[in-house]
Each structure stands twice: as structure tokens, then as C-alpha cells.
């Protein structure tokens, strides 16, 4: 699966995205970096089908994500070919970690492999807390549980927004390793971060803060 972004622009009150183009190909690890407020999350949202760009287009295997897909189809795509570990989302407090991970699949009538689930939980080091409630696990475990929920559907392109933020170094290392190891010839990963632990990438989009009415391109 290939994602091609062309001339993406998005205006916000203070900052915006200007003429961003990039391409995500299978087997690649792409980093989106930049200072706070430079639009990393916005760009990820646009590439992940969660936010219309003001200008520009995003193609998924040649189909325009915002013109050829309905809103419902875009969301469905997120649970199948695309995976998105967003910031600011939360688990359902009344469900166990395991139920939180499997609940979306149950709701959408998708099967999941229990062995695969256990493997992911083990890899992320949260197998022991699978039956705990989100309120009773650490912040690091919480973030890893969110990642596990995205990984279970084995997306072809995985978007992660600040996957290591607020994690201790051990947890961050687990997540970083997991994301690097997720890449294979059919799968690619896009990470928006300012964590220097992500020191390897096949492609790098660096964003700079620019005023909305300014002139220039904010990506290198």
C-alpha cells in the first residue's frame, strides 16, 4: 500500500501547513519531526484520513482519500489497512486492557487471533496487566496498550503520534523497538515525534513553524 501526499496545506489560527508532499512506500519507516506547533499531528491526521486538508490531496494506492472515499470508508480503512495511534485518546476505564484492545474488533465484527494478541502483549511487555483496568496501570503500560490495540488489526501502514511521549526510557525503548520491527516488505510505519530515540528512518519530513499568512514551505 502506497500513500502519496501532494501539496498538503492546512490553515490554523496561528500556524499552518504549507505545500507538504511526501510518499510512503511499503517497507519504509518515515519520521515526521519538528518543534511543537509545527503541524506534525495535523499532517499525520491528514495522512491518516482523520482531517481534510484545506488544499492538496492524499492518495491511497492511487485513490484520493478525501474525494474517492466516504467518511465511513475512511474510518473503516483506519481499522484495516491503516492504523493510527493517536494522541489524546483514552481507553475505556470500565474495560480491562485486553477487552479494550479487542472491543473495537468485536464491535466491527472482525475476527482476531488470540495467539497474535498474546504475542503483541508479550512483545510490548503488558501481558501481565492484560486483565487490569486502565486506571490501575502505569502511564507507560497505558500507551503500550493503545499501541497494542492498533497493532492487533495488523495495518499495512501504521501512523503513530508521539508514541514515546511521557514514557520512561525502558518503556520508550520497548515501543521504539516494536515500531522498528513492525516494518516488513508489506508494512510501513510513520512516526511523528521529537524523540531522538528514533534515530533511523528511510524518509524524514521535518516541519518548521511558519505563520499562516507567511510565504514558504515548512517541510524539508
Amino acid at each position: 500500500m502506497i500513500i502519496q501526499a501532494e501539496g498538503i496545506e492546512k490553515d490554523f489560527t496561528r500556524e499552518g501547513l504549507k505545500d507538504i508532499s511526501f510518499r510512503i512506500v511499503p517497507g519504509s519507516f518515515t519520521l515526521i519531526t519538528g518543534e511543537s506547533g509545527s503541524g506534525k499531528t495535523t499532517l499525520l491526521n491528514i495522512a491518516g484520513g482523520m482531517l481534510h486538508p484545506d488544499r492538496g490531496r492524499v492518495f491511497v494506492d492511487g485513490r484520493d482519500l478525501y474525494r474517492d472515499y466516504t467518511r465511513k470508508e475512511r474510518i473503516r480503512l483506519l481499522g484495516s489497512d491503516l492504523g493510527y495511534m493517536m494522541q489524546g485518546v483514552s481507553l475505556i476505564p470500565s474495560l480491562t486492557v485486553k477487552d479494550n484492545i479487542t472491543y473495537p474488533l468485536v464491535l466491527t465484527g472482525r475476527e482476531y487471533d488470540n495467539e497474535k494478541l498474546e504475542e503483541i502483549l508479550n512483545q510490548l511487555g503488558i501481558y501481565e496487566v492484560r486483565d487490569s483496568y486502565p486506571g490501575r496501570i502505569s502511564g507507560g503500560e497505558y500507551r503500550r496498550a493503545l499501541l497494542a490495540g492498533v497493532l492487533l488489526s495488523e495495518p499495512k501502514i501504521l501512523f503513530c503520534d508521539e508514541p514515546t511521549s511521557n514514557l520512561d526510557s525502558d518503556s520508550a525503548a520497548v515501543v521504539t523497538d516494536m515500531l522498528y520491527s513492525y516494518v516488513n516488505p508489506d508494512r510501513s510505519v510513520v512516526v511523528a515525534t521529537h524523540d531522538t530515540a528514533f534515530d533511523r528512518a528511510d524518509a524524514h519530513v521535518e516541519l518548521r513553524r511558519i505563520p499562516v499568512n507567511g510565504i514558504g514551505i515548512n517541510a524539508d
Partner: protein, 399 residues
């Protein structure tokens, strides 16, 4: 499985659950209890119309309200009317048959097993109203020292009860009528005469100047005549001589008017209540969805579409609604059914609680009204919520 998830999810939102339970309970209870009440009166009035049938009632002038309160509310009274009117009326044009009745209020004293019961003496040979009811229940008319009692008197068939110093065998119990007959007891004129013949009880069936005193006369009309025309004829002939004729329809019409007014009042309050409920439910649902936006956002980000989200949220609230309706129905039944008699005595109208089928329909309506309010609130809130870009549902400052 969804239900299990929904139940667990609700467990973590105790404040919202309590708030919605309170709103739904208040609304459901008002609709259900109010519905039981108005349907009880409607059923009572319908039963009254059916039991009285078409015909007329002739009473001493000025006693029409007493008769109405006796017939419809079960208030005991004693009314005297010369029995000679029976023959007189029979000779009036259009009158097919007449049947006298004597109303005697029982006394709460040593002489009587219960006070406040309306004793009705009637003539089983000429009667064309009460006998029909007994025949339907296969109860033969009461013989000497036999009595047939109304449902609310508390007596049972086969037992012996004491009235006016005399033992009566309860021959049967009239099924519930919702009318004054529920607190009445029926005896024959022969029995009334026998009681009156004893010392101290002459007022039960008195004679004034050698004329036996009855209370009212039921009149049926010949074919080719209308009740209204015969009624007008009787009133023009005898109105000045101390009697008045009323069609049963005109007596029931007053009831129907009262019922209609009562229903309007209840409907008005129901509408107001549902409007208030709608605003309250809408506010709670909006607030709750905002509180849950990060969890909802996460589900969207892993492919759970908005229609599924809306369905889950609606199902969760429906669980609360079902619990509230169950509690309100239980409370309504516990509050109204045991006090049917008290309610009847307070409302001055015929009253008969709805049967199981009607009650089930009422429960269904209660659930439906609340579910509709809930569905609209969820749809409106959901639509305004999901109108935003998926990323903006989670956070506004996505830059």
C-alpha cells in the same frame, strides 16, 4: 456481548447513570401512573355506559346528583319516592317497562356487618338492568334473606353476613363494575319488606300514608321511541309533580365531559413533562458524550464507525431506560393497585383499573415515549458531534 460491554461501561459512569435513571424514572412514573389513572377512569366510564345501557332513570326531583354519586361513586344514600309512580310511568307514551329500586344506606352499628354500603332492593321479576349482570355470571336473583354483593364489599359467596339485625346468605359476588355497584349489596323487595316488618327497621322499606317508598325507577323505551323523547314527555307530564327523568346517556355525558377534561389536563402535563425530559436528557447525553470524547475518538481511530458508536451509546442508555421504566412500573403498580378503592372514593368518578393487556400496552407506550426522547437526543447530539472531522472530535487544537 454488547450488553456485557455496555453494562461494564455504564458501571464506570455512575453519576450519569444516576442522573438519567432519575430523569427516566420521573418521566416514566408520571406517564405510567397518570396513564393507569386516566385509563382506570375511562374503563370505569365505559363499563358504566355498557352496564346502564340505554334507558332512563326516574328519581325524585332534585335527587339526580345523589343518584349519580350513588351510581358512579358508590356513595350511600337513602332516597324516598312513592311506589305509585311505577304504574303511573307505565301508562306514559313510549314506556315499555319499568322496574323500581330502593336505595338504603347501611349503618355502621351493631345491626350491620359494615356501614356505608349501599343496599339496593330491586324486583327480580321486573328488573331489566341488574338481573342481566347476574345472569351473565350465572348467579340466580336473590331470594328471601339472600344477598348478592359488589366486588369491593369484602364479602365472599357462601358466607353469612348481618345487616339490619338479620343474617343474610351471600349468594354471589358481582364482578368489578368500577361503579357504585362495587360497594353495593342487592336484595329483593321481599327481603326489604321482611326487614321493614320488624321493629326498628321500618325505615328500610317504609310506607307513607300506606304507600311503599322506593328510590328510583328504571325505565325502558318502546321501539319507535327515543329515550330523549320519552324523557321529555315524562318531564313535561310529571315534572311539576316532584319527579324528574334522565336518560342514562345524559347522566353518563357528564361523566364523559369530566373524563375529557381530566384527560386534557393529564395530556398537557405529559407534554410539558416530556419537553422538560427531552431538554434534560439532551443535556446529559451531550455532556456525557463530551466527557467520553477521548474514548470515542480512540474507537474511531481504530475503525469503529459513527453508526456503530451511536448504536452502542443508544444501547447503553436504553439499558438505563429499561431499568428506570421497570422501577417506575413497579412503583406505579405498588402505589395505585393496593389503593384502588381509596382512589375511587377520592375522584368522584367510576374507576376500574386497566386489565393486564391494557397495562402492558401502557408499559409499552411509556417505554416508547421515553425511547423516542432518548433516540432523538442521541441522534441530535451524535449528529452535531460527528459533524466534526474525526480528528476534531478528540481535540480541537490539532495543530
Amino acid at each position: 456481548m454488547y450488553i456485557d460491554f455496555a453494562r461494564k461501561d455504564l458501571g464506570a459512569q455512575k453519576k450519569v447513570v444516576c442522573l438519567l435513571l432519575l430523569i427516566f424514572f420521573t418521566s416514566s412514573f408520571s406517564i405510567f401512573a397518570g396513564g393507569l389513572f386516566t385509563r382506570g377512569i375511562t374503563r370505569g366510564v365505559d363499563e358504566t355506559v355498557e352496564r346502564l345501557g340505554s334507558g332512563m332513570i326516574v328519581v325524585p326531583s332534585g335527587y339526580d346528583e345523589d343518584v349519580q354519586s350513588t351510581l358512579f361513586e358508590g356513595k350511600a344514600c337513602t332516597i324516598d319516592l312513592d311506589s305509585t309512580w311505577t304504574k303511573e310511568l307505565l301508562s306514559a307514551e313510549g314506556v315499555k317497562a319499568v322496574s323500581p329500586q330502593r336505595y338504603i344506606a347501611t349503618l355502621s352499628a351493631e345491626c350491620c356487618a359494615a356501614g356505608g354500603i349501599q343496599m339496593i332492593a330491586y324486583d327480580p321479576d321486573t328488573d331489566f338492568v341488574i338481573s342481566r349482570w347476574f345472569n351473565d355470571q350465572e348467579i340466580a336473583g336473590p331470594g328471601l334473606n339472600e344477598i348478592i354483593v359488589g366486588k369491593s364489599t369484602g364479602f365472599s359467596a357462601g358466607e353469612t353476613v348481618r345487616f339490619f339485625g338479620r343474617e343474610f346468605l351471600v349468594k354471589g359476588v358481582l364482578e368489578e363494575t368500577g361503579m357504585g355497584y362495587d360497594t353495593s349489596a342487592f336484595i329483593s323487595f321481599d327481603t326489604a319488606g321482611a326487614i321493614a316488618a320488624e321493629d326498628g327497621y321500618s325505615l328500610i322499606y317504609p310506607s307513607v300514608d300506606g304507600v311503599e317508598q322506593i328510590s328510583m325507577i328504571m325505565v325502558s323505551v318502546e321501539e319507535g321511541y327515543t329515550e330523549e323523547s320519552v324523557c321529555a314527555e315524562i318531564n313535561s307530564l310529571y315534572g311539576t309533580k316532584g319527579i324528574s327523568a334522565y336518560t342514562t346517556g345524559s347522566m353518563v355525558k357528564t361523566l364523559a365531559q369530566k373524563l375529557s377534561g381530566l384527560k386534557s389536563v393529564f395530556s398537557f402535563f405529559d407534554v410539558i413533562l416530556v419537553l422538560i425530559e427531552s431538554v434534560a436528557v439532551f443535556s446529559v447525553v451531550s455532556m456525557n458524550m463530551l466527557q467520553r470524547r477521548s474514548a470515542i475518538g480512540r474507537l474511531i481511530s481504530v475503525g469503529v464507525t459513527e453508526d456503530i458508536m451511536m448504536r452502542i451509546i443508544f444501547e447503553e442508555y436504553m439499558l438505563i431506560l429499561a431499568a428506570a421504566v421497570t422501577a417506575s412500573v413497579f412503583s406505579g403498580i405498588m402505589l395505585i393497585y393496593p389503593f384502588e378503592g381509596l382512589l375511587h372514593s377520592l375522584i368522584d368518578m367510576p374507576f376500574q383499573l386497566p386489565g393486564p393487556a391494557d397495562t402492558l400496552i401502557l408499559i409499552g407506550e411509556t417505554l416508547l415515549v421515553n425511547a423516542a426522547v432518548l433516540l432523538i437526543a442521541v441522534l441530535i447530539t451524535g449528529n452535531s458531534f460527528y459533524k466534526r472531522e474525526p480528528a476534531l472530535i478528540i481535540r480541537e487544537d490539532v495543530a
